[in-house]
């Protein structure tokens, strides 16, 4: 295998893991030598995939900005140059580079760069709330359907079919408009919910109510996100169930629950992980699309809402209000997709081999 400049970094990373784990448990290295070696090969394969590296950097960048964006932003998301300086003419739809506003301002004189950095947090939180719940429901239902088969399978998969047959975006749209008021009401009546929501989304407590549509979108996405996973997991479960080791576990007297979670799930985790990674981009995209379609809360720095709001001022020549949020969405989605594609090749030992020797 020809050397690669990044391989040394990978080696250092692997030996760091080994050192740390050995300190926790002296026998760890002996027991996990093979696993460690496989991780090393995966990293080597990743090093040889330029698109994978690019995807990883973009994806990690999204996560980093999602976490720290609000702290590195030059201004708060609701800071207005107009309100602060009173220079209405200068800061009304100021183009990029105008007096401190690196990416320009919107019609209220707010700093676009700060808005985008705060927006990354909202996108990240949406992803972090939608995917785990959607995936858990889908995985559990898929495992049950695939493992038990028969009537259980029929019941679960017909419900899944109903959800899949109904356009997810429309369903989410309807749910969102139905849920928004209820959620706003709940936030208004629970002080702890107000402070929790504003802390998580990095908003001021006074704006907590305005995040209600986004929370409604999250709940709506829980309902439309699991069917894809249920179907995927069911198929993979059926495939794994045919393996003799499942019957061997049954012969031992293992319970069905244990067989599903200890034998079947670990064996389908690889493809599932790839699907999840590719799905992060989908969640970002759908959430941005929904907040765009919902009209967008003008007070909340959501990427989709910024595009929606900014599109009104395209006639005034304010291209930056479309291009920059659009670019943010594009890069985040592209990053996760590229990384997911690379991950697919890396996790599959057959394609990994071909990358290793490239």
């Amino acid at each position: 295998m020809p050397g690669h400049p990044l391989d040394r970094l990978s080696d250092a990373f692997i030996s760091l893991i080994a050192r740390v784990m050995t300190r926790v448990n002296p026998k760890w290295l002996e027991r996990n030598r093979y696993k460690l070696e496989e991780w090393r090969l995966m990293l080597y394969a990743l090093n040889r995939s330029p698109t994978g590296i690019a995807g990883l950097i973009l994806a990690m960048g999204f996560v980093f900005i999602g976490i720290f964006g609000p702290y590195i932003a030059p201004h708060s998301y609701d800071f207005s140059y107009i309100a602060a300086t009173g220079k209405y003419k200068l800061y009304w739809l100021a183009p990029p580079g105008t007096g401190g506003a690196i990416l320009g301002t919107d019609d209220l004189g707010r700093d676009l760069l700060s808005q985008l950095l705060y927006g990354a947090r909202i996108s990240l939180v949406v992803v972090a709330l939608v995917l785990p719940v959607g995936i858990s429901i889908g995985v559990i239902l898929g495992l049950l359907a695939g493992y038990y088969g028969g009537a259980v399978d029929e019941a679960i998969m017909r419900v899944t079919d109903i959800f899949l047959a109904f356009p997810g975006l429309i369903l989410a749209l309807a749910l969102t408009s139905a849920l928004t008021m209820r959620i706003a009401y709940a936030i208004a009546n629970n002080p702890w919910l107000t402070s929790f929501v504003s802390a998580v989304f990095a908003l001021k407590p006074s704006d907590a109510l305005n995040i209600a549509p986004t929370l409604a979108i999250i709940v709506a996405l829980w309902l439309v996100w699991w069917p894809g996973y249920a179907r995927l997991v069911r198929g993979m479960t059926l495939q794994q169930k045919g393996n003799v080791f499942v019957m061997a576990a049954q012969a031992l007297g293992m319970s069905s629950r244990e067989i599903m979670f200890k034998h079947i799930l670990p064996n389908i985790l690889g493809p599932l992980l790839v699907f999840m990674t590719l799905d992060v981009g989908n969640v970002i995209l759908v959430e941005a699309g929904l907040s765009f379609l919902m009209g967008g809360q003008i007070k909340i720095p959501e990427w989709g809402a910024i595009v929606q709001h900014g599109s009104q001022y395209l006639v005034n020549g304010a291209w930056w209000l479309l291009i920059f949020p659009g670019l943010a969405i594009l890069l985040a989605v592209l990053g996760w997709n590229l990384f997911g594609d690379a991950l697919r090749d890396i996790l599959d030992p057959r394609t990994r081999r071909s990358i290793e020797f490239r």
């Binding site: 027991r31 093979y34 393996n243 003799v244 012969a251 031992l252 007297g253 293992m254 670990p266 064996n267």
Partner: protein, 320 residues
């Protein structure tokens, strides 16, 4: 010798065809009765599709039967529930044919062998010592403990599978063609290992195979299956020296003999045709369309398994 396992009129039919069509049944096992005595090996032979493996799975309650019962230590295993069923699962286990799919590729050898112990919550002291003891017992060593199945050859994997079954100190093990996926050179090693373990732990085996030479080497008694039924059962040597049923006679006469002069002298009993469709088995004796001795009676009435000589049973109209 007391019977450890008593199989009575066991039947398993599998449905085939669409739900809207008239349901048809594959009669994989169709009324099988036999006993397995403690400490012995019962060989079960027959061509592919005759119901050997289904019988094995039924004996371990990996399938629910259509009819009939299996008594293990006097108790019907299909009636067992809860703790009793778990106890049965500890005492009876199986080694599968294909060692390449019978071990979970995501688990180390240590985890694979410890799994039965964890499932049954048995206290074995130091787990590593216990696994090591089992590894030595099946001819592996400590360097294999934390490796994954794909790092092993077929023979080694089968040893791991045997160690895993042994971990529970079972009484009865079904060996479902344990060597047919292995190289000939490795087969003998595994068979000898199984024989040694049987002596050491007084194990009872049901040995399933289509390889007659292997069955003769392993078994104390042999049962011959044809299309879901047992046609002959008896002492291993007696079955080989004086087979009664035409099907058994044909099978045994067709075992290859290494010496070509011997082989030329031997009279071969050829049977024609393919095994019939188990959805629609022929009436009367199931073997009659392929039997060189078939009479009118064979086409109409089904022969019962009768005791021809002591402990040697046959189901054929030639002997009654």
């Amino acid at each position: 010798m007391p019977a450890l396992i008593q199989v009575e009129n066991l039947k398993k039919y599998f449905p085939v065809g669409g739900k809207l069509l008239v349901k048809q049944w594959v009669k994989a096992v169709d009324g099988v009765s036999f006993e397995i005595y403690e400490g012995e090996t019962l060989g079960l032979v027959g061509e592919s599709g005759c119901g050997k493996s289904t019988t094995a799975r039924l004996l371990l309650r990996l399938e629910e039967p259509t009819d009939g019962k299996v008594l293990f230590e006097g108790k019907n295993i299909y009636k067992l529930r809860g703790r009793e069923l778990k106890e049965f699962r500890r005492k009876a286990n199986i080694v599968f044919q294909d060692p390449y799919t019978s071990l979970d590729p995501r688990m180390t050898v240590f985890d694979i062998i410890m799994e039965p112990i964890r499932v049954h919550k048995i206290d074995v002291g130091d787990p590593e010592q216990y696994v090591l003891k089992l590894l030595y017992e099946v001819g592996l060593n400590e360097s294999h403990m934390y490796r994954y199945p794909h790092e092993f050859s077929g023979g080694q994997r089968q040893r791991i599978a045997i160690a895993r079954v042994l971990a529970l100190r079972p009484k009865f093990i079904v060996l479902d063609e344990p060597t047919s996926a292995l190289d000939v050179s490795v087969q003998a090693q595994i068979l000898n290992l199984l024989k040694d373990l049987q002596k050491k732990y007084n194990l009872t085996y049901l040995f399933i195979s289509h390889n007659l030479a292997v069955v003769r080497y392993m078994s104390h008694r042999i049962a011959v299956m044809y299309l879901g039924k047992i046609v002959e059962i008896g002492d291993a040597e007696e079955i080989f020296e004086s087979p009664l049923h035409p099907y058994t006679r044909a099978l045994i006469s067709l075992i290859p003999v290494p010496d070509p002069f011997q082989a030329r002298k031997r009279k071969k009993l050829m049977i024609q045709g393919e095994p019939p469709n188990p959805i629609n088995p022929p009436p009367g004796c199931r073997f009659h369309p392929r039997c060189p001795f078939a009479k009118d009676r064979c086409k109409k009435e089904e022969p019962k398994l009768i005791e021809y000589s002591k402990g040697h049973y046959v189901a054929c109209w030639l002997y009654s």
